[in-house]
């Protein structure tokens, strides 16, 4: 189902799969010119921002498409029985694959900036798995709530916009005043961003606390999401 989803997505575009590479690539080139002029002395900052953006894109695209995953496929809900968790799951998986492709684009840029690939990159699948849990958990909650509350997408859009600036995508964490830093680091997405940057840019292994917080958050989200989804899905066929 994931494969067919992707096939449909790209079947009609001339460049096909190349788009999924080109889109982030073009975006990065634009951003590169913008930021390398702003921060002339810190080339690493460009890579810093790009990494943050890719992490953010997986989160925002994964959750906002996950939101519509049930409502968007009414026939699979009302006409036939399949375990409905498959809908947000397949959605999250295809977002995951897109995100992996985007990170493939990042690799040549790392060499351009002389950062190269650190051996810590082997941790990438681990981070992806942790991230997957979080996005899937959000997908479960949002998609089932969206069936009943059809303006949730607008609310979520706003949340995503606030989130974009609340996470250190465009600015370094060091600019946050010390007294807020503690609260700031409670945000699991901020943690994840830091971890991605650890393995791609500085080549250090993220701290145990990072792993623990993100993992616990992900697991709790998936459990809470599954419970909500199970409870709400009973009337899906009537409400979709």
């Amino acid at each position: 189902m994931v494969i067919s989803d992707l096939k449909v997505k790209y079947a009609n575009s001339i460049l096909g799969f190349a788009w999924s590479m080109l889109n982030p690539l073009l975006m990065m080139i634009v951003l590169y010119f913008v930021f390398s002029n702003f921060y002339k002395e810190q080339t690493n900052l460009v890579i810093y921002i790009l990494t943050g953006l890719l992490v953010w894109r997986f989160f925002s695209i994964g959750t906002s498409t996950g939101l519509g995953s049930v409502v968007g496929k009414p026939s699979l809900v009302t006409k036939i029985y399949i375990p409905r968790e498959i809908l947000p799951l397949s959605n999250t998986l295809s977002a995951l694959i897109s995100s992996m492709l985007e990170f493939c684009v990042l690799v040549p840029l790392l060499f351009v900036f002389g950062v190269g690939l650190h051996p810590t990159v082997v941790l990438f699948p681990v981070l992806l798995t942790l991230f997957f849990l979080i996005v899937y958990g959000f997908g479960l909650i949002l998609s089932s709530l969206f069936v009943y509350f059809r303006d949730l997408n607008n609310i979520w859009d706003v949340v995503m916009q606030v989130g974009f600036f609340a996470c250190p995508v465009m600015y370094p964490l060091t600019q946050i005043p010390g007294k807020y830093l503690y609260f700031y680091e409670l945000n699991p997405i901020t943690r994840l961003m830091g971890m991605y940057r650890d393995i791609f840019i500085t080549g250090t292994i993220p701290g145990v606390m990072d792993f623990a917080i993100v993992l616990v958050f992900g697991i709790v989200l998936v459990i809470v999401g599954s419970v909500i989804f199970k409870k709400l899905q009973r009337r899906f066929a009537e409400e979709v």
Binding site: M1, K7, V8, A11, S75, L76, D151
Partner: protein
């Protein structure tokens, strides 16, 4: 989830489906509330915003293995709701259902077909939706296309299919799922006469193989020819249950 329901000891071995006084209501809202905003506003209003409509009320029956069981009734009597609950699409509000075996719901054919993909890709996709593993589809692939008489078109995109071809393909895949219990809802009114007959023959063959079939239809002659026992629903309640001929007589006297 009726499909995964554990078997209870009360169920006799030769029972395929035991439906125990299930009821189902739909909410008919006075005013449809679909947004957070409307729900928040409605909470302060405090009055109930919907009226209950009982689509099924205390419906109970038992279908034995190998039986072909007809469900008839006028429009709006709850036939489709009953079938959807059996298929697991809807949930009953009270009562219980126990199912012994794998159910294949033929509520509507071609659900999940992707217009942009070829027939070949759709066979795998639809097979997966209907619960067939990839290697099962591989094994039955030729049989599916042969039955649908679409071998020439296997690499054509589905959007270029005629509606008849579409349904033929869907039925051919769905019939390959090898279910223990078949739920049929008016699906046989599709395709041309030739293909309809082919479907009927196939269903007859399945029936002879000792599979259980639940058949919902307005076509009383086919109910009479296929089913020995039937259930007559009206207004969500069981009116009669038993020998098809008698049930059909009651149905006639009711409407006439």
């Amino acid at each position: 989830m009726p499909l995964l329901m554990k078997e209870k000891p009360r169920m006799a071995m030769d029972d395929a489906i035991v439906v125990d006084s299930i009821s189902k209501y739909y909410r008919i809202p006075f005013e449809k509330k679909r947004t957070v905003y409307e729900n928040l506003v409605g909470m302060f209003g405090g009055n109930k915003s919907y009226e209950e409509f009982w689509a099924l009320k205390d419906v109970g029956f038992t279908v034995k293995h190998g039986e072909t069981f007809g469900v008839i009734g006028p429009n709006g009597s709850g036939k489709s709701t009953l079938l959807k609950i059996l298929a697991g699409v809807l949930y009953q509000d009270s009562g219980s259902i126990r199912v012994n075996g794998k159910i294949a719901p033929f509520l509507e054919l071609g659900v999940g077909f992707q217009q942009q993909l070829t027939a070949r890709e759709n066979i795998y996709l639809y097979g997966a939706i209907m619960g067939l593993a990839k290697r099962d589809v591989n094994r039955k692939y030729d049989e599916i296309l042969e039955f649908a008489e679409l071998k020439r078109f296997e690499d054509m995109k589905l959007k270029n299919f005629s509606s008849g071809m579409y349904v033929r393909l869907a039925f051919s895949i769905a019939i390959q799922t090898d279910p223990d219990i078949l739920l049929l809802d008016e699906v046989l009114s599709v395709g041309d006469e030739h293909f309809q007959k082919k479907c009927m023959d196939k269903i007859d063959e399945i029936r002879k193989n000792g599979k259980t079939i639940i058949f919902v239809s307005h076509a009383l002659p086919s109910v009479k020819s296929l089913c020995r026992k039937s259930l007559l629903l009206s207004g969500g309640k069981v009116v009669a249950i038993g020998d098809t001929e008698k049930v059909i007589d009651i149905y006639h006297s009711m409407s006439g």
